[in-house]
Symmetry: C2
Subunit: 435 residues, 2 copies
């Protein structure tokens, strides 16, 4: 285990990064296979470390739902192994050619994907995240500094040791992976803008904002998840109820769960009671504008609908509660979403192609969905193998960030002694041709 | 001309952005054609405004080389017209599909390019830049707030009016383009993180750093241009002299001009005198390490070679001066470049394929060149029509930023009532298939 400072490790990593970027796909996949083997070989050690974390959590009266997230057991390991196996099967993200162009006879430009370099990932207290993030960084040819939640410190330390040893045994440079363990080390990491190319913080809005405000390193983080489902007049209403219920209740604590239901006014009296009942059956309730409260006042079998004010539509509940408003049409729905949403993922339910196309075109979000639940916004469900985070920014990567999001590109230009003076002085002319 | 505040204009722009993103290629090209016509129709007015700026520059004793850059005359207008015509011929950057995948039967994901939205570009005192930046933003479907150098305020105002009127006449929303004129307005712009998606500052390092330190808006800027030419032992030495001379002297003030010459030690005694003479013929001189000074001490017809210290290799001269050091081999050259360079553009001259491949792979720069001048690093020379800037960051866009660099993407997911619960509870399995 390295004992030098984070700054020293980051400096070393920056030097190693070009070699890491040049490793073969075979070497990187071999490292993933070695990690899978290492996890199995050290299962008892890992589970024992996890018991220490779980015991501490119990002693500290950590909420049971959170305790569940801290657990790393056979089931979680099986998920890690499945993910590692899936990742090995994915094509190499490095070396993809996105431009191949002759500038003039014998002067050829190629734009090729390559790893970003040194990435710092700060993730929540979930031990499986360490394995996931490390393996994504290895497969994508990046060096990584990993910092997990302190509630799983024992598990993280053993998992990191296993991952690191396995990667090194497969030929990866020992300096390519490092573990940060304390808040002080995170603050040190934030000052490493000379060596670290990208920070990916996962966690609360406040935490991501803190990171952004205290570093010159580019940050890829998601701000929040205020996702919408708009039920259009032309919707199949049974389908709409199913989608709304799934988007709100399948896992309300996550960022791709829906927070607001928008309904076209023309169908509100018919649809709202069905939606409210569907939500109630899954333990969720609505808050709404005066109109919504009126329509649902005498509906039986649903919880009372609380009146909400217009300026609350930016609320991320993360709970079994959903805001609700009526709109005239898809245009008003889009305006509402672009104004109050967090540009994460928003869905329309409609059978009308033109209405759907307007929505998909005009909603300014990373994910724009038709007739399906916002909960699909996830790297695994998109077939990326896993995700290192979800970006609600528009720069670089947007939405779930998988292997491709951990790449940049470089321009290779190969000539035969070509000089700009010849072009500037008219002796040669550019002759662009895509190859 | 709009008279509302920058904040109000940015707020309005954010609302207009989805409509701007939905404009057809025909409408955007028509706007470019109208701008070309408008420039010709208002040529006298534009040139008269430019005379006011030039007169003020003369009265303020602005350096003649800078005065030259402020000029907007028939020749500059011809360049603008050529650029507008070239841009019209380029394919639509919007709507490019980079992923098309079935997640399961009837559930289809598409990743489609779309404009970033609202972009603020702050550029140097060069009136042609206003036309270039505005037309790139229009072609790429973005809204833009433009701020040019105050030394060309009169010209900028008239040019903006012409561009704006022309774009509006072609159906572009009047709120899609705005002009900022004062430093106070720039400071106001920096606070518009709720409305502006990206800032592109062009200018000195200090200026770019100031912008980065005073805004929460993502910034795409280039830090500096410390570019290298490495002359390998296996180089064609005549070619190497030609490349070095062009890279240093063809236009020394720009960021893609080379600042450092690295030479493999084994050929230094033979090559350095040739290189120094070639540079001297174009008015440039070398500064070097003790070895370099020794080798060039008795060479005739070249200026004295000043001794430089090791910690000066990060210097961007922007002038007819070049740092020089010897290295053992390509490995040492790469280490030097990755340590001291600015990750902009670096070239190797060699006839050896393996050496070249090592250099192109291992140098961590936006542009890695073989046997050609670093001066080719430019959006126009890459066939992008023009460039809105050059990025030395690795996130989002790297190197010259053209139309593609002004795009983000969104994920469209279309289903038939699909919900995550079905997958989570084992009733359905993902069945990924690229279409």
């Amino acid at each position: 285990m390295p004992t030098s400072t984070i700054t020293e490790q980051a400096r070393q990593m920056k030097l190693v990064a070009p070699r890491m970027a040049a490793t073969s796909l075979g070497a990187r996949n071999a490292a993933l296979a070695a990690i899978a083997q290492g996890l199995q070989d050290h299962a008892n050690e890992i589970f024992a470390a996890n018991q220490l974390d779980l015991e501490a959590a119990r002693q500290n009266d950590v909420a049971p739902t959170v305790q569940k997230r801290l657990r790393y057991d056979q089931k979680k390991m099986a998920e890690s192994l499945a993910q590692l196996s899936g990742l090995q099967g994915l094509p190499d993200p490095i070396g993809k050619v996105s431009l191949h162009r002759q500038l003039d006879e014998g002067l050829v430009l190629t734009r090729v994907s390559c790893p970003i370099g040194v990435i710092g990932v700060i993730f929540e207290a979930r031990p499986d995240a360490l394995v996931q993030v490390a393996s994504l960084c290895i497969k994508s040819g990046n060096c990584a500094i990993l910092k997990g939640g302190k509630e799983t410190a024992h598990t993280n330390r053993v998992l990191f040791q296993v991952v690191h040893d396995a990667a090194v045994s497969a030929g990866i440079d020992p300096a390519a992976l490092a573990l940060a363990e304390s808040h002080a080390q995170v603050d040190e990491l934030l000052g490493c803008d000379a060596y670290v190319d990208l920070l990916i913080p996962r966690g609360s809005n406040g935490f991501v904002r803190y990171i952004m405000d205290h570093t010159h390193i580019p940050v890829m983080g998601h701000s929040s998840g205020v996702c919408h489902v708009y039920v259009d007049g032309a919707a199949d209403q049974d389908m709409a109820v199913r989608v709304v219920v799934d988007a709100k209740t399948q896992y309300p604590a996550v960022c791709n769960a829906a927070e607001t239901l928008l309904v076209q006014r023309s169908i509100a009296k018919e649809f709202l009671p069905k939606a409210a009942r569907g939500l109630a059956e899954h333990g969720a309730r609505l808050r709404g504008t005066a109109e919504v409260v009126d329509i649902l006042r005498d509906v039986e079998g649903i919880p009372a609908v609380e009146r909400m004010s217009d300026d609350e539509f930016g609320t991320e509940y993360g709970d079994y509660i959903m805001s609700c408003a009526l709109v005239d049409d898809v245009r008003q729905a889009v305006d509402h979403i672009n104004r109050w949403g967090s540009h994460h993922t928003d869905a329309i339910v409609t059978a009308d192609d033109q209405t759907a196309e307007y929505f998909l075109q005009m909603v300014d979000s990373a994910g724009v969905y038709r007739n399906c639940s916002t909960r699909f916004a996830d790297g695994y469900r998109y077939g990326f193998g896993a995700e290192v985070g979800i970006s609600t920014g528009k720069l670089h990567a947007r939405g779930p960030v998988g292997l491709d999001g951990l790449q940049t590109y470089k321009y290779r230009l190969v000539g035969h002694g070509d000089v700009v003076a010849d072009f500037a002085e008219g002796r040669r002319q550019f002759n662009f041709r895509d190859l």
